[in-house]
């Protein structure tokens, strides 16, 4: 299907080719779905409504997505990538020698994205759709988001003179983490710091979920500042002690 006949030397193409039109239509379906999802939420997303909105009959969509779940999967992948991009860009705007501020920037970006795309956030980090098994190719875009946080921590330790916290008796953490994965993602970081990084990861998303899903109602008044405090506290656990440029050494 993806065969492009490029040797025909076709010049000024006013109309898009079949393959281009297909990609364009896929993009139109996804953006319409995103718009409707923003209004009514992911589980309420209706193929028929998407079609109606596009001025097309519902069965036409099945030419592009064989099932509703496949459309959702495409939206999930896009959302992961969007969030990953957003967090990466926010992080890269902070000087590399200030990992604490980098963490704050990354975490705030994630939270900001979540608050402006609540339904897509819920799709990624809320309850998984029952009976829906995330396909293989969603894990790589999903990992990008976590990678933003982990690489800040890894870099901080790489450029630090401090010794990472060690597993004192050497037994506490044996077999707790998947070393195979983490050796690649957080090279040179001690096991306890890796564990605390995973802890920070779930802490950040736990906070955002609680805020977004309304569990803080009645206890947290200023969610912005509370979130900043939480990030700062967990940063203390995962960053080397000499990592704050303003704070001496």
């Amino acid at each position: 299907m993806g065969k492009l006949t490029c040797d025909t030397g076709r010049m000024s193409e006013v109309r898009p080719t079949r393959a281009e039109a297909r990609l364009l239509q896929i993009e139109r379906i996804k953006s319409t779905s995103r718009r409707l999802m923003a209004e009514k939420g992911a589980p309420g997303l209706s193929l028929r409504e998407v079609a109606r909105e596009m001025g097309v009959v519902s069965s036409a969509l099945y030419r592009y997505f064989p099932t509703r779940d496949d459309l959702l999967t495409a939206l999930i992948v896009d959302a992961y990538n969007d969030l990953g991009d957003f967090a990466e860009r926010a992080t890269s705007r902070v000087p590399r020698d200030d990992p604490r501020r980098q963490l704050h920037a990354a975490a705030s970006a994630i939270r900001k994205w979540a608050k402006s795309n609540p339904h897509e956030y819920a799709l990624l980090y809320g309850s998984p759709v029952p009976g829906y098994e995330a396909p293989r190719f969603t894990v790589e875009p999903a990992a990008r988001v976590a990678l933003v946080l982990s690489s800040i921590i890894t870099d901080a330790w790489r450029h630090s003179d401090a010794e990472g916290r060690r597993d004192e008796d050497g037994k506490t953490l044996r077999g707790v983490l998947e070393t195979r994965t983490l050796d690649g993602v957080m090279p040179g970081v001690t096991e306890p710091v890796r564990a605390l990084s995973l802890m920070m990861w779930s802490q950040i998303f736990g906070c955002i979920s609680f805020e977004l899903f309304g569990h803080y109602k009645g206890t947290v008044r200023n969610a912005n500042r509370f979130f900043a405090i939480v990030v700062d506290e967990t940063a203390n656990l995962v960053l080397p002690p000499d990592s704050d440029p303003t704070r001496g050494t």
Copy 2:
């Protein structure tokens, strides 16, 4: 695990009265729904299937729950109470002078409940059903769960000689938390400890959600021990330094 048995307790009457029959039928609807939900998940819960399972026509259910959301709300309230009971009982089995073990017991109980009732957990702490606004009377049962954790911490500080961490400059935490609520729930606990307690709360549920929703796949191998480590680390933040009976003073 805390399953509700609908027992009229009345022996004199062979046939139940109208009111009793009604309560009994409500209980039957809820338990059938719970069973189906355990198989197919909350969003896939179908009134018609519940009715079919009960050997009754679907419209009959509307005599008891005016809408599907009302049935879900009833299930949510029951689930919060069930989880709250379970966590309370687990906590009360640990001596009061060991708050750290109490926290471990409470957190483990919550996690255990979540793993044996994953769909109900998702209903409580996953993405909220879109367009569904949790009614007033769900917040009290919801608060019970958080109360288990917060009262362990409050008790620990009450029976401790240590001074709770103070808000040094007095400005950092001003207006961050809802003092009105927390004064009642965590009396005599300093503001930073309250904030860290909320942090612990979302940390615990964040971990459980990540584990249950599959986000730890590829990074955490032994979730039991990882969870214990996380609880222990956060316990360090919220408990008074002299609170461990085994550790001197």
